[in-house]
């Protein structure tokens, strides 16, 4: 080949790179590792992830739900996972039709008109929703509830820091655990949006209709964030409550925990904002013989055309993860999603009732919850949970002191359809016995 192109040697291929930049020695990375050795290496590292094998009641933005076997099986078809962005629609109809189905499912779950092909995750979707609200209303103030997932708020602050947007917080009610409309004291005709999470970080369900009314009264948008997407199976959709933009983390739908990623951001809004929505959109199209197909559309919103005036800089999103969610939702179907959601709620409420019976333990927030709730322990929560984990092999929850040092005795418990009564009973017994060890 070298001969054919007239190059003297492989070295010469890189002649356009100045000599002084050329590496003299090989990279200081390990020598090539054969498959067997590589797998052993990763397996060994895996054994030091003890948390992966424990009974888990961890939530807080990432959820352990059962993933039907077909999801990974279909996802592993190379036509799906080794394909690229469907720029040539004629040979990407598999990907495009799947995305169209995904968009439809997201609309159905959120109760909104249009949804995009995905964002990176719930946190960046929320940040982009804030930016979109500014574009749509041309106002620069945004009020976000302090009951939103702390990491989501951090991401939003990063995104708005140079966008000329003033991101304020509204303090949640210590008694109910929710964001009361009265707490939106900064709300005025300069407010682009009110942002809340429901169920919120503490698991409490917000009164979205009341918050929507309050926001709309000054012409602001209501952005609703959902971290536990399974809640769509039981709770009234944010769309039906009057939300203008709904963003969510879709990881609950057929996506493994995988230490935090890759996940998938859902983004849905009203028809009238179609040209302001970030991310890719798939639409129906027909060829000259009238055959239906699907194409990427409204591309003029995007970076490759609008460049600095684009609705977002997003290019690659979470295509394969959106596909996982699509397969999950279609496999579980209408009834499966409702049943899974129902079981999450029932099991969580059983757990909270049993924990409340323990001496010294209480449930501090009065608002209704879906499958996550805060527990107030008689001792330091972080220590209690550590004893429970090392002694009983149970991850009983997330110590809130990680996010708020004033809440040293509080921890967040999440129960899903995968937790059995046996496991929940073990949690309760374990909390009781571990308390004595702290």
């Amino acid at each position: 080949m070298l001969e054919e192109i007239g190059a003297a040697s492989i070295e010469n291929l890189f002649d356009s790179i100045p000599q002084e930049l050329r590496l003299r020695d090989h990279l200081n990375v390990p020598a090539a590792m054969p498959e067997l050795e590589l797998l052993k290496r990763f397996d060994e590292m895996g054994t030091r992830n003890q948390a992966a094998r424990r009974i888990s009641f961890l939530g807080g933005g990432a959820y352990s739900h059962y993933i039907p076997t077909v999801v990974d099986s279909l996802l592993s078809r190379s036509e799906f996972f080794t394909a690229y962005t469907p720029y040539q629609p004629e040979i990407s109809q598999g990907t495009l039709q799947s995305i169209f189905e995904f968009q439809t499912l997201v609309c159905q779950l959120t109760g909104m008109d249009i949804a995009n092909a995905s964002m990176y995750d719930g946190s960046t979707a929320m940040a982009e929703a804030v930016l979109m609200a500014e574009r749509v209303t041309k106002r620069t103030k945004v009020i976000a509830s302090s009951a939103i997932h702390p990491q989501y708020l951090e991401v939003a602050h990063t995104y708005v820091q140079h966008a000329g947007i003033d991101l304020e917080h509204a303090v949640y009610c210590a008694e109910s655990g929710t964001t009361l409309p009265e707490s939106l004291s900064g709300l005025d005709d300069q407010t682009a949006a009110v942002v809340v999470q429901s169920p919120n970080f503490f698991g409490c369900i917000e009164d979205l209709a009341a918050l929507a009314e309050k926001a709309h009264s000054v012409g602001a948008l209501l952005i609703v964030t959902v971290t536990e997407a399974m809640s769509f199976g039981l709770l009234k959709s944010p769309g039906a409550c009057g939300a203008d933009i709904v963003v969510a983390e879709g990881q609950s739908f057929g996506v493994p925990l995988s230490f935090g990623g890759p996940y998938v951001g859902l983004f849905a809004t009203r028809d009238k904002y179609a040209r302001q929505i970030p991310g890719r959109l798939v639409g129906e199209a027909y060829d000259k013989n009238g055959r239906r197909g699907f194409v990427l559309t409204l591309a003029t919103r995007e970076q490759h055309i609008r460049r600095e005036k684009a609705t977002s800089n997003i290019c690659t999103n979470e295509g394969l993860i959106a596909l996982a969610a699509t397969i999950y939702l279609e496999t579980m179907g209408r009834r499966g999603v409702q049943e899974a959601a129902r079981q999450c709620a029932q099991k969580a409420h059983y757990a909270s009732r049993e924990i409340e019976k323990l001496e010294g333990f209480s449930i501090p927030f009065s608002a209704p919850f879906f499958n996550e709730f805060v527990v107030h322990a008689p001792v330091d929560a972080a220590s209690l949970l550590e004893k429970l984990a090392s002694g009983k092999g149970i991850d009983g929850g997330i110590a809130l002191s990680r996010f708020d040092t004033a809440r040293a005795n509080d921890f967040l418990v999440c129960v899903t359809e995968t937790n059995t009564k046996e496991q929940i009973d073990a949690l309760v017994a374990g909390l009781s016995s571990s308390t004595k060890l702290v």
Partner: protein, 129 residues
């Protein structure tokens, strides 16, 4: 060969102006719509909005491109062609007629004299190629 009607004034940004009394009717030229391809969306301002000459007053989108549109004269919008919301293809089919975009009262009607004539515009587009 692009159509360049004689009775209009033209700008280097490929807009045309038709003067009707003290109203300027503005749109994009046949050359422009041809370059753009099938128009899918037109973003227009609102009646009452004011613009200085060479300000961007909106944009025209095709499938793969978006172009800002600039007003060749200073004025205040009296009317916009809202039918373009449902039928943006009018810009392609009849750029000087049904595809008109905005009407505005001109602040200084003399401004049109500094625009290009049909012949000058034709030369200009040829030179661009």
């Amino acid at each position: 060969m692009a159509n360049v009607p004689d009775n209009l004034h033209y700008s280097k940004d490929h807009e045309w102006v038709r003067v009707e009394g003290d109203i300027a009717v503005i749109g994009i030229t046949d050359h422009a719509q041809d370059q753009l391809g099938d128009v899918v969306y037109v973003e227009l301002p609102k009646a009452g909005d004011e613009f200085a000459a060479n300000d961007s007053f909106g944009s025209v989108e095709s499938v793969k491109a978006v172009s800002e549109i600039f007003t060749p004269v200073t004025g205040k919008i009296t009317e916009t062609n809202d039918s373009l919301n449902d039928e943006p293809e009018k810009v392609n089919k009849d750029p000087y007629g049904d595809g008109w975009m905005i009407k505005m009262t001109m602040k200084s009607p003399g401004e049109v004299d500094s625009l290009l004539t049909a012949a000058e515009y034709e030369d200009f587009t040829k030179a661009e190629e």
